[in-house]
Symmetry: C2
Subunit: 318 residues, 2 copies
Amino acid sequence: MNLVDIISGIKNCNNIAILPHIQADGDAWGSCIALGIALKRLGKDIKIISEETIPKIYGFLPLEDIVIYQGTNNHSFDMVIALDTGDIGRIGNRIEVFNSTDNTVNIDHHGTNTGFARYNYIDVNAAATGEIIYELINLLNVEIDTDIATCLYVAIATDTGCFKFNNTTSKTHEIVSDMVKNGVKIAEVAQKVFDSTTKERVMLMGYAINTLELFEEGRLAFICITNEMLRAANAGDEDCDGIVNIGRNIEGVESSVVIREKSQGEYKINLRSKSYIDVGQVAFKFGGGGHKMAAGCTIKGDLDSVKKSVYEELKRLL
Amino acid sequence: MNLVDIISGIKNCNNIAILPHIQADGDAWGSCIALGIALKRLGKDIKIISEETIPKIYGFLPLEDIVIYQGTNNHSFDMVIALDTGDIGRIGNRIEVFNSTDNTVNIDHHGTNTGFARYNYIDVNAAATGEIIYELINLLNVEIDTDIATCLYVAIATDTGCFKFNNTTSKTHEIVSDMVKNGVKIAEVAQKVFDSTTKERVMLMGYAINTLELFEEGRLAFICITNEMLRAANAGDEDCDGIVNIGRNIEGVESSVVIREKSQGEYKINLRSKSYIDVGQVAFKFGGGGHKMAAGCTIKGDLDSVKKSVYEELKRLL
C-alpha cells in the first residue's frame, strides 16, 4: 500500500478515528494531531482517541476539539488510522474502536511493525512517523500552517532526540527547514519539550548524583536511588527517567547503572552502555531484557549484594 | 564588502592566517578549521593561530597540520582573516599577527561587530559564522567533504544550542541537511559536543543542586557554589558553566541565580530569565552587565547579604 492509495481511501470516508499508541510519545501525539488538523481542514469529522490523557509536556499542542480519551468514546467510524504503533498490543484498551470497522490503516516507521491493519504503510527510513505524515499532508494538498508545523516539529524533534540520534537524516533537516518556514517558534517549543523540568526532578537528580561512584578506572558508573530519596524530593517514578544517562555521559564511562529501590529487598536495574558492552546480555542473565545499549532487570537482595552482582557481570565484559 | 570580493582577495594571497576569537567556542573553531581545510585544498599555505590550545571537547575536529598556537608563531602572512570576532579586543595577544599586514579580513555574524578590519563581512542573519563559511566555501568551488562538513556542523550546532535557540532559521536546517549528506556522523559528533561531561562536573552539579532554593511561589531559583564544593568535586571554574540553567529550566521559574564564591567576601552572580524580567538591568545595578535574558555581576559582602540584595532586586521586577 502506498500513500496515494491511502489518500484515496481517506477521501471516501467522513468519520475518521486516529489512534496513537499506548503511552503516546511526542512522535505519536505530534503525528496524530497534525494529521487530525489536516483532515479536519478537508471537512472530515475527526476524533483522536488516545489511551491516556495527553502528558503535560505536550499540552501546548493545538488540540482543537478533536482529541478525546478512551473512556469517552461512543462514536462510530468509517476509517480507523493507527499511527506510530508497532503492533496491535499497543492499541491497548481501544481495540474495540480499532475493530469497529474493516477499514483500518497503520502508518508507522518501526522496523518491527507487524502490519496488523488492512492497509499498512511502513517506512523504516523515516526518522519519525511525523516525517511520513508530512509527506501525506503534502499529498493531500493541505497547507502546512503553523499549528500543523508545530505538531510535526515536535514529532520529529522528539523522535530524533533533538536531531542528535543516528536516525536523523538530511531529509529530517529538510523537513524541519520547511517547518521553520511555516512559523514554528523553535526556541519556545524546544524549551517546553526538551528543557523543561520540575523542582522535584532536579532535587532527585541532586540526591542521585550524591551517590555516584566510578569503578574500574572510571569505566563503570553506579548511581543508587532509594525510596527515601524519592520521598525527600517529593518525586515520582517517572522522575527517575534519564538519570542513567548522567553516568553514561561521563567521559571514559562505558557502562552506566542505576539501581532503584522498588520495595524492601527488590531493586530495579537500569543499564546503559556507550560502545561495546552488550547490557542486554547482562539484563538477560538477571531475567530482564533490552538492547545492546539500553536494558533493564529486577534483582532481589540487599543493596550491596545487588550492586555487587551487577558489577561483577559488567566487569567481566570490560 | 561582499563575499565575492573577499574571495578575489583570498585568491591573490598564498600565506594566510586565520584567527578565531579568544576563548574560542565551537563556532569559532569549526569555522576556522573548515575554512582552513578548504583554502589548503586550493593550495594555500594556511595557519590557524589561536590564543589558547583547542578545548578537549573539540579535539576530535580534523586539525590536520594547520593549527598553531599564539606562542609558536614566527610566520609572515599576506592576509589575516579573523572569524567570529566581534571586536579587536577579542584578537587578544595575537594583535601583532593581525597588524602584520594591511590585508585584514573580518567575517562575523555578531550585530555588535565593530568592523575593525580593512575588509569586513558581517551577516547578522546568520545563526553562526559557520553558515557564512558554508557560503564562502561553496563560492570557492571547494567540495565540502566529511571533514569540512563536520567542522561546519559543529560550528552551527553549537551556536544554535543544537538548533534550539531562536537564531535557528530554515536556512540553518537546509545547510545542516547538506552537511548530513556530506557524511557527518551526527550521533557520534553530537555525543561528543553536547552530551559529554566529566565526573568533576557531575559531582559539582550534585553539590550545587543540594543548595537549590525556590522563592516567590517558585518564580525565583537560587543556587550557591562555594570554593569548598569546587574542591570536594575536584572541579574548576569552567565546570560552573550551565549550572544556572538548572534553575531556569524548572517549570514556573522566571529568573534563576547562581551565586559563586570567588574569594573571601566576593561573589560572582550569574543571572538568567525566561520571559519578562530584564536581568541585564539587575546586573547593571550591581556594576555588571549583559542582556535581558542572561547577565552577570560581582558583589562584595557575605553570602547571606549578597543573596538578599539580588533577591530584593529580582522580587521588585516579578
